[in-house]
């Protein structure tokens, strides 16, 4: 689910740009260390593969077909950091060339699909990929990556104040569940076929690597829970404000934090929309600055 521009409210897209883009920058650095510059063609071509894979239809049910989304497949074959880079590149090309997903919303889409989606998809494979439950873990990887991305996108839309009647919300959650199961089945079948072609294609899970990712895995579990919580919270009208009122954050937050971007307004620009827009631009500038810092070569 690619969120176009104009769907998310300024606080939501600005916050996700500030969080998502530097995180993607950090992951790029990790992947670069792992893959060295000379492997650039591999990641690019695998990105093209994910695009092209959409042309291969999988029969699911009567007269309908599904296709691969790819985050979990890449995570199991190239490793999560590289998969995250490939998905980020795909989202950038889709936003620029195909107008599929917005530019301001790129941070949100990268966060949902390339960061949380990929790492959530890697989690089951990482935990159970070696044991007897290997096939089940690959299925869970595909299903989880799609489900978490879709839930996050839905939560962000609800937080932005897009109203959804309960019935429609229920239907969309059902659709998410179905597409998650389809992605799980496709990922499992493709990896099975890949192993038949060449047994070492799915990335072997080395024990030495395990400790590195253990922390990340825990963080992910927290994130998954958070995503579920956000959805539950946002079924209430105007979720974020309701949540703030319910928890009493609204009264305290103003006095606790006197950040220059308070209320997503740049205080020194006065009130009203120039302040909001200024805060948005500053947010982008901050994200860009962080990228420069993180992306600098060692």
């Amino acid at each position: 689910m690619h969120i176009p521009d104009g769907f998310l409210s300024t606080p939501v897209w600005a916050a996700l740009d500030v969080v998502g883009i530097p995180t993607a920058g950090y992951i790029v650095r990790v992947a670069q260390r792992e893959f060295e510059d000379s492997k650039v063609p591999l990641l690019g071509v695998m990105g093209a593969f994910v695009f092209a894979a959409q042309m291969i239809n999988f029969p699911v049910g009567v007269g309908t077909s599904g296709h691969l989304v790819g985050g979990a497949l890449l995570a199991c074959t190239l490793g999560p950091a590289a998969a995250s880079v490939v998905m980020t590149a795909i989202l950038a090309i889709q936003a620029l060339v195909f107008q599929d997903g917005g530019i301001l919303a790129l941070g949100a889409n990268v966060f949902n699909m390339a960061i949380v989606g990929v790492f959530a998809g890697y989690l089951p494979y990482y935990l159970w990929g070696r044991g007897r439950a290997r096939r089940a873990s690959i299925f869970a990887a595909g299903a989880l990556s799609v489900a978490v991305s879709a839930l996050l996108a839905m939560a962000e839309l609800l937080l932005s104040g897009v109203h959804m009647p309960a019935s429609i919300l229920g239907v969309s959650l059902g659709l998410f569940a179905v597409s998650a199961l389809i992605e799980g089945a496709i990922t499992m079948a493709v990896i099975g076929a890949l192993e038949a072609i060449q047994p070492n294609f799915p990335r072997p899970l080395a024990a030495a690597r395990a400790r590195n990712y253990a922390v990340g895995a825990l963080a992910l579990a927290a994130l998954v829970l958070a995503a579920g919580g956000v959805v539950a919270a946002s079924t209430a009208p105007d979720g974020i404000e309701r949540l703030a009122l319910d928890t009493g954050i609204a009264q305290h937050a103003r006095t606790w934090i006197a950040s220059p971007l308070k209320d997503y307004q740049a205080g020194f620009l006065g009130a009203g929309w120039p302040a909001q827009a200024g805060a948005g631009v500053l947010g982008i500038a901050m994200a860009g600055g962080l990228c420069v810092l993180i992306g600098r070569k060692r």
């Binding site: 590149a89 107008q99 992306g295």
Partner: protein
């Protein structure tokens, strides 16, 4: 194909095509932020911004009708959510979703159809995006055509063996066949990437793309930057002031 047309448009000749990619990126970002944060008098603001974008399209000698249609790819998605908002008793938000998403897509389309993608990605490099990521994106775009063509061949082959859409009723064997096709495509892409890498090494690839032309900011670029940044802001101030 969508991207082939964009590729042709982006190699056109006009004042807009010649501008430095960085100033175009800055102008589009400001446009998007002004639009995304707008609430009051939205229909009028959208109308004014739409007129600006149409003028720019004509100035760039891009076929207007084609550009308008292509920007419409966001409409199906937006229309669903607009309908949902309308059902939820918030038709104004629905209309805002439609207008904002369409105009944003139109603005980005103009950026891409006046700047060849390699130049555009170099423009983004100057804004701090990691070079490694941009190189991956560039390779992705380059091999998109190649691998897609391979996938099309495979699909045609499957069809010619009777795997048409009509017979898609929950067939486990066909599902497995599709998975096998995808696995073969994966393995071929993987092998191709290895070949590409070896070919690049044999041509002494330094680990990054050597730019053929250096980017320079000319006086026209600075003028365009001011015009492009100020136009949406001034329009919004004027329109909101009139209310």
């Amino acid at each position: 194909m969508h991207h082939v047309t964009l590729d042709q448009w982006s190699r056109g000749v006009s004042g807009l095509h010649q501008r430095d990619p960085r100033v175009k990126i800055a102008a589009v970002l400001v446009f998007l932020v002004v639009l995304a944060t707008a609430h009051r008098m939205l229909p009028w603001l959208c109308l004014a911004l739409f007129a600006v974008l149409c003028t720019v399209t004509l100035a760039a000698r891009i076929p207007l009708a084609g550009a308008l249609t292509r920007a419409g790819v966001v409409l199906p998605f937006s229309a669903v959510f607009a309908a949902v908002s309308w059902l939820a008793g918030d038709p104004q938000r629905g209309a805002a979703l439609l207008m904002k998403s369409y105009l944003s897509a139109f603005a980005v389309l103009l950026l891409v159809s006046t700047t060849p993608l390699p130049l555009l990605l170099r423009g983004f490099e100057m804004t701090g995006a990691p070079r490694f990521l941009l190189m991956v994106a560039q390779f992705l775009y380059r091999y998109l055509f190649v691998i897609s063509e391979e996938a099309q061949h495979m699909r045609k082959a499957a069809w010619s063996r009777g795997a048409t859409a009509a017979g898609l009723a929950g067939n486990a064997q066909r599902f497995r066949a599709a998975a096998g096709a995808l696995a073969v495509l994966f393995a071929r892409s993987y092998a191709r990437a290895g070949d590409i890498h070896r070919a690049m090494l044999s041509r002494s690839f330094p680990g990054y793309f050597r730019p053929l032309v250096e980017l320079h900011l000319h006086r026209e670029d600075v003028a365009f930057l001011f015009g492009g940044v100020l136009t949406p802001i001034v329009l919004r101030v004027l329109i909101e002031g009139a209310s």
